[in-house]
Each structure stands twice: as structure tokens, then as C-alpha cells.
Amino acid sequence: MPWRYVGRRLLQLAVILFGVSVLVFLMLRLIPGDPAQLLLGEYATPAELEQLRHKLGLDRSLAVQYWVYVKSALQGDMGVSIRTGAPVFQEIAPRLIATVELSLAAMVIATLFGVGAGVVSAVRQYSVWDYLTMFLALVGVSMPIFWLGLMLIYLLSVKYPLFPMMGRLSMGLDIPVVTGLVLVDALLSFRPDVLWDGLHHLILPAFTLATIPMAVVARITRSSMLEVLDQDYVRTARAKGMDEWVVILRHGLRNAMLPVVTVLGLNLGLLLSGAVLTETIFSWPGLGRYVVDSLMGRDYAAVQGCILIFAVIMTLINLLVDLVYVVLDPRIRIHE
């Protein structure tokens, strides 16, 4: 493992975070809207507004505000939410974990079904199966998530109540929070009923969230596989009399995975930062909704904290993708 490379990339992260923090700080203050006014609404008198602005430190110069923000951020304090008065980190952490759970579940679905469908389509090119999956992939990419989510709820929760329509667990069900991931906590506390309940709640939102990445992955896998299956080494493997599935999986899929991994990485980043619609439809208490609400309320500290976390996640996922390349294709070397 190229540790020095990893170290250098992590150092770059610090530079990125600094850049992001300045950008977000300035952009938030450039968009119109006064947090104090939004917080107090039309009931407020001008004196009350002035007083609140002073209490929130909004009457100080931008430079001073930025300095105060960076100074405390460096000490690990991301500030206090303007709306709730609670520390931003405390607000973000549980929501981030809820989003991670949903996104990972969606990624598992997207990878398994997307790669599987792509491989089968490539192997049986121009078959009915091929046309059907590629048609479904086209539908999957172009279907509005919002509509799909509501239709799923209507059909599978209201009309035929097979799945719960919202939340992470049935109301009233309780387990001790260790990691915040419902499924993991259920395992840790040996509660198969909670595990089942959590899975049951996860299926509809995860499937909704997975449709677009699943469709993209299926198409990329198919075209990449078609290219690889045409290579000389595949012909050689077949000539050696290897089992066809070994040829497809070991010689074909492994080599076809590079572009797929890139797409998966990008999508995971997007899912973690942008599951807003799915979270809203399924009342999932995640970070996507929180960012939107915070932005609407001009909750500067909260938005800044979220964007910084997204920046970290995106950078780390990119790094991870680069490292997976090395594992998948030994010919790839990282230039130190």
C-alpha cells in the first residue's frame, strides 16, 4: 500500500478544506436573506432584530466573523446552530449516520443488480434479456425519484401494505444507540426483530435511491464488458478450455470493473450528499434534508459544517477509488 501517497493526499485534504471553508463562508453571506429576520418572522420589531443580530455576532465585519469561525473550527468546534442553539456537530452526527445507512444500502443494491444485469446483458448481447435490461436502465435513469418514491409508497404501503411507508424503525421500537446504524445496533444488541424491522424500513427508500446509480452501473458494466470480452486474452482463456463463467468473471469482469468503480465512487459521493428527495419522501431523518432546511433558514454554522463534511467525504471516496484501481489492476502504479 503506497502509504506516502495516501499521506500526501490527506495533506491535500487540508488545503481543500481551507478553500471550501472560505468559499462557503462567502457564498452564504452573499445570498440575500437575513438569518435574524428568518428566525423571528413578521412578529419581530426592529429592536428585537437588531438585538438578535448582535447576539449572533452578525453585526461584526466579515473578516472578524470568518476568523472566529476558523479559530473555533481548528479546535474541533464547528459552532452553534443559529436555529436550535445546539452544537452543529451534535446536530450533524446522527443525521449523517442515517444518511450513510441509506446510501450504503442503496449502493449495495445498485452494485449487485447493476453489475449483475450489465454482465448478463453483455454476455447475452442482443438477446431479449439484453434489450429488456437496457430498456429498464433507460427508464431507471429518466424516472423522477420523487414520482417513483410516492408511487412505491402508494402501491406497496397504502394499497398493498407490504412495506412500512416511513422512518427507520417502527414507532415505539427502541434499541440502545451504539453506532447509530440501526442494522448494526440491532446485531450488537442481539435483536433479530429490530434487525428485521430496520431492513423492512430500509428496502423502499434504498431501492428508490438506488434506481439511478443502478441504471448507470448496468449500462457502464455492459459496455465495458463487451469491450473486454473482445480482447485476445479472453479468447486465449476460452481456448485453454476454461469454464465459461470463470472466463467471464475472472478474466472479463475484473478487467471491466475499472470504469464501474469510478462510477460507483462518484455515485456514492453524490448519494451521501444529495439524498434530499428520497429522505423527504420517506421521512428519513438524514443529512440531505437537514442541509436544505438549514440553507432555507440561513443557518450559517450548520451549512458550513455540512459542506465541510461533504468535502471530506468526497475527497476520501476519490482516494479510495484510486486505491481500488491499484488492487484491481496491478499494472497501475502510483507515481511517488
Binding site: P32, L40, E42, T45, L52, S283
Partner: protein, 522 residues
């Protein structure tokens, strides 16, 4: 046949659960309450959003409260009160034998700490909060005095009769002093009051769980638990109500409400709220100075059509500056009828210059009292055009809009009031007196300075007899009606949609209720 009937009757009478299902209150069950968003802070003295208030008023109580289905004041933690001769000192006698959810006894000290933290900068708890809405809460109170364990005095800066309504608002909860000391600025996450429900847990953006307070001093709550569940998507909220996943669904749009009304398992109750949406006419602009021009505008607008088109029927037309659900409403006033001919005649009499183009400012945000501001503005524009008046629609972002209208920069502007403390004073003095017509920062955006009107409403602040006050307010409404500083447009209807399994569901005109007496069929 007859034999079967007898048998059936016998059977029914043998099943008490079946026979009495709908009228015998039962204890137990969980009430699931679907709403659009999460609460922000459960320290109600700091809360400025409806979702916090809805949850908080289940937990906290005040010295006095509004009625379950009206805005009339009733005793709560204070059993009685009196005001001194000079009208400055209010003495409250407190209820005995009440304890907070954490076991702390309720007494005068608790009232002192709950109030002094808001108004006294030297109080140890003062720095824990932002106390934003002083004008609606304790801004008029100079001092809080503990007389004995169960008597408290509030001294006001001037004689101020509306104080009782302020004390009944969510902004004046009585909070456990022990909890305030323990949780400091995080008390909003750990609310401890004396109410019929106590706080259990809060999963942010997901749910707040409350359970029955078994040591409650009055009638104990009927349901075991209340779960307030955030369901941000309105269609999902409707489906949750239809499928029985939730028992109550808040903030449904008019189309959804129509569907709920048709559903045999669901119930809708509605009544006029305490809010008002109005068109303020800037009386300082030369074109609008003549009262006949303002009366003409009132005659030109067809409110009934406006309510059908914009509110989809979920509103009543307004004729006074506050709603009929508030005491002191003058129902004898005859509203300006929709009469374009009369409007034209009035304009001609006033010598109105039909070539002037007036600015009509439209709110950029929608509110219950103004659900579709731009459409409303377009409608008003068309009505004015029909009598020959030219109006140009002007828009700004909300912050700028409020600032500029408070500065009197508009000709006509649309605004509204959610209802504040539901005292006529809040509307008449707060939004229409000469004292509040001072720019910048005028709350009276018509900049209407009528000496007689102002004198009446200021005098009413010093009178503590409700009947006497009502007389003055009724007179003030006559002046308002004659002078037309606003064209009052509508009071929106407040609606509660719920499952028929719930019974005794209250609806206060401001939509904020304790669900203490609500019970759920098994």
C-alpha cells in the same frame, strides 16, 4: 325475523366494548401526530416556530391559558389574580400541590425564575437564551416579586390590560428551576414542565415522544403516549393519514383536505383562525390621502371571489382588522359591498387622477393568511383596472419587503398578522395606532395617524374590565371602517384532519392545543 332482531340486540348489549365504542372515553393507546417538520427548541420562551410550540404546549403550562376551543382566558397554574388600583401591579395566587415532571415543587420561585430569566439581565439563567419576542411576552413587565410561596406579583411599566393574553401565550411557560439550572442553554432539548404530558425522547427530524404525566394535578391525559412524527412531504402525510399510520395530519393542502372530507374513516374540523390578511393603503401617499379613494378601493375588490379562487374556500371574508374568533369584534359593521360602479363614482368625486400608476406590493412568501400572494396581487390588480385604476405589481425578497414597507416606501402593500396574543390591542394598537406609524420600523404600514382612534385604543390598555374595553374597541373599529387604512381581505380557516378513532379533538382558533383530553378507540 323478529327473533333475529332480539338476538342481535342481545348480542350487542353483551359486548360493552362494541356498544359504547364511540362515546365512552377510554384510557390508553398511542396518538401518532404527523406534521410537516421537526421542532427547533422545546424551550417555549425562545420558540418562534409553530412546530416547537405544538410539541411544547403538551409539556408546559402557564399561569393562565386560552380556552380549548376559544381564545378566552382561563386559569391554569394561577387560580386567581387581581390588579392594583393604579393598574401597575398584578397579583397572582398560585395552584398548590403541583409538581414538575422532575419532582421539583411548583411555587412562586419557579414563576420568578421562569420570568426573571427573560427580563432581568442579572438573572443567572438570562444568558442561556435569546428571548426574541419580548413585545409579545414580558416586555411590559418591569419586575417579578415573590410575595410568599404561592403568591407572585408582576409590576408593569405602565397600566397594560393585554398582559393576561401575553401570559397565556406559549412564550411564558413555567419551567422547572432545577432543570433550567441543570441544562443551562440546552434546556430546549430537555423540557421539564408541569403539563399533562412529559418529555421522553427526541430523535431529530424524526420524532418526539411524550408520555402521560401520572402525577398531573388535574384530569390525567387519556392517551399513554403522543408521538410527533415529522413527515415533510405533504402527499406522504396524506397517505399516512389515509392508511392509518398516523392519527392526525397537519398542514394538508386544500386538495388533500377535500379528499379527507370524502374519506369515511377520517374527520375534518375547521373554524376561522385569529389571523388576518390585508391590503394596507399608505395614507401618506398623495394619491391615497383622500378617504374616498380608499373607500373606492374597498368597493372595487370582490372578496368572495378572492376567497374562492385563492383560499379554495378555506377562509372567511374580513370586514374588521381582527377575526370574529377574538372578543371585542364589532359584528354590527356593514362591510363595503363589491360595487365597481360605486367605486368609480367615489374616485370621480375625489378627483382621482386616473393616469397615476400605483405600486401594489406583493409578499414574496406565502402564509396561512395569504396562501398565494402573487395570484392575489394579480387579482387585485384586475379589480382595480376594472374601475380605471392602474396598479403595478412590485416584489422584493422577504427581508427587504418587511424593511421597506416598515419604511412606508409602498403605495399599497399586502401583509398580514398571524394573531399574536389574540387580544384586540395586538391588532388595533400594534398595527394601526399613531404610535406604531413612525418610520423606520413602522408596524402600522398604512402610516395611518388617527388621533381619535389612537386615543381610544390607548385608553383601552388601561381598563381592566373586559366589557368596558370591548366597548372602546368596537368604537375604534367603526373609525377604522370609515377611514379604510387597510382593505381587510380574509381570515383563513384553521383545519384539523384526523382519524375517526380519535375523539374529543379540540381546535383552538390559533390551532395550538393540548391533547390532554383526546382519547383513542381501541
Amino acid at each position: 325475523m323478529r327473533k333475529w332482531c332480539v338476538l342481535l340486540t342481545l348480542l350487542v348489549s353483551l359486548c360493552p366494548g362494541l356498544a359504547g365504542a364511540a362515546d365512552q372515553p377510554v384510557t390508553g393507546g398511542t396518538l401518532i401526530w404527523g406534521r410537516g417538520g421537526d421542532s427547533v427548541s422545546l424551550d417555549l420562551a425562545q420558540a418562534t416556530d409553530g412546530e416547537s410550540i405544538k410539541a411544547g404546549i403538551q409539556i408546559y403550562e402557564n399561569l393562565v391559558k386560552f380556552g380549548d376551543n376559544s381564545m378566552d382566558i382561563e386559569p391554569q397554574l394561577a387560580t386567581s389574580w387581581e390588579v392594583s388600583e393604579d393598574g401597575l401591579t398584578w397579583t397572582f395566587h398560585l395552584r398548590k400541590g403541583v409538581t414538575f415532571h422532575d419532582g421539583t415543587p411548583f411555587n412562586a420561585q419557579a414563576v420568578y425564575d421562569s420570568f426573571a430569566r427573560v427580563i432581568d439581565e442579572n438573572h443567572p439563567f438570562h444568558s442561556y437564551g435569546k428571548w426574541a419576542y419580548l413585545s409579545l411576552s414580558l416586555g411590559m413587565v418591569k419586575e417579578v416579586k415573590v410575595v410568599d410561596d404561592y403568591t407572585v406579583q408582576l409590576v408593569t411599566k405602565k397600566p397594560y390590560a393585554p398582559l393576561l393574553n401575553n401570559l397565556a401565550l406559549w412564550l411564558c411557560p413555567i419551567v422547572s428551576p432545577k432543570a433550567m439550572a441543570e441544562y443551562k442553554d440546552q434546556i430546549g432539548m430537555h423540557p421539564v414542565g408541569t403539563g399533562p404530558f412529559k418529555f421522553v425522547k427526541w430523535v431529530k427530524d424524526d420524532q418526539i415522544v411524550l408520555e402521560r404525566n401520572e402525577n398531573y394535578w388535574g384530569d390525567k391525559a387519556k392517551v399513554d403516549r403522543i408521538i410527533l412524527k415529522s413527515i415533510p412531504e405533504p402527499s406522504a402525510r396524506l397517505m399516512a393519514l389515509q392508511s392509518g399510520t398516523v392519527d392526525i395530519a397537519d398542514d394538508l393542502d386544500p386538495d388533500s383536505i377535500a379528499l379527507v372530507k370524502k374519506d369515511p374513516n377520517l374527520e375534518v374540523i375547521e373554524k376561522p383562525s385569529i389571523n388576518i390578511g390585508y391590503l394596507a393603503l399608505n395614507t401618506e401617499k398623495p394619491a391615497l390621502k383622500d378617504v374616498r379613494v380608499r373607500q373606492a378601493i374597498a368597493h372595487a375588490i370582490d372578496k368572495d371571489t378572492l376567497i374562492k379562487a385563492i383560499f379554495q374556500g378555506l377562509a372567511i371574508p374580513a370586514k374588521n382588522p381582527f377575526a370574529p374568533t377574538i372578543w371585542g369584534y364589532n359584528d354590527e359593521i356593514q362591510p363595503y359591498a363589491y360595487d365597481p360602479q360605486k367605486a368609480k363614482k367615489l374616485l370621480e368625486e375625489a378627483g382621482f387622477d386616473f393616469s397615476t400608476e400605483l405600486e401594489l406590493w406583493a409578499m414574496p412568501v406565502s402564509r396561512a393568511y395569504m396562501p398565494e400572494p402573487v395570484k392575489t396581487a394579480e387579482l387585485i390588480q384586475a379589480y382595480l383596472a376594472a374601475v380605471g385604476m392602474k396598479a403595478k405589481i412590485v416584489r422584493y425578497d422577504w427581508g427587504t419587503y418587511l424593511k421597506k414597507t416598515a419604511n412606508g416606501e409602498h403605495d399599497m402593500c399586502m401583509l398580514g398578522w398571524l394573531g399574536g396574543n389574540a387580544d384586540p390591542d395586538n391588532f388595533l394598537y400594534g398595527l394601526l395606532s399613531a404610535d406604531t406609524a413612525v418610520t423606520p420600523g413602522a408596524a402600522n404600514v398604512a402610516l395611518w395617524k388617527n388621533a381619535e382612534f389612537t386615543e381610544l385604543v390607548k385608553q383601552a390598555q388601561k381598563i381592566f374590565d373586559k366589557e368596558e374595553r370591548a366597548k372602546l374597541y368596537k368604537k375604534a373599529q367603526e373609525i377604522f371602517h370609515r377611514e379604510v387604512p387597510w382593505v381587510p381581505l380574509a381570515h383563513s380557516t384553521i383545519v384539523r384532519c384526523y382519524n375517526k378513532k380519535l375523539h374529543d379533538v379540540p381546535l383552538r382558533p390559533n390551532g395550538l392545543n393540548s391533547f390532554q383530553m383526546v382519547w383513542k378507540e381501541k
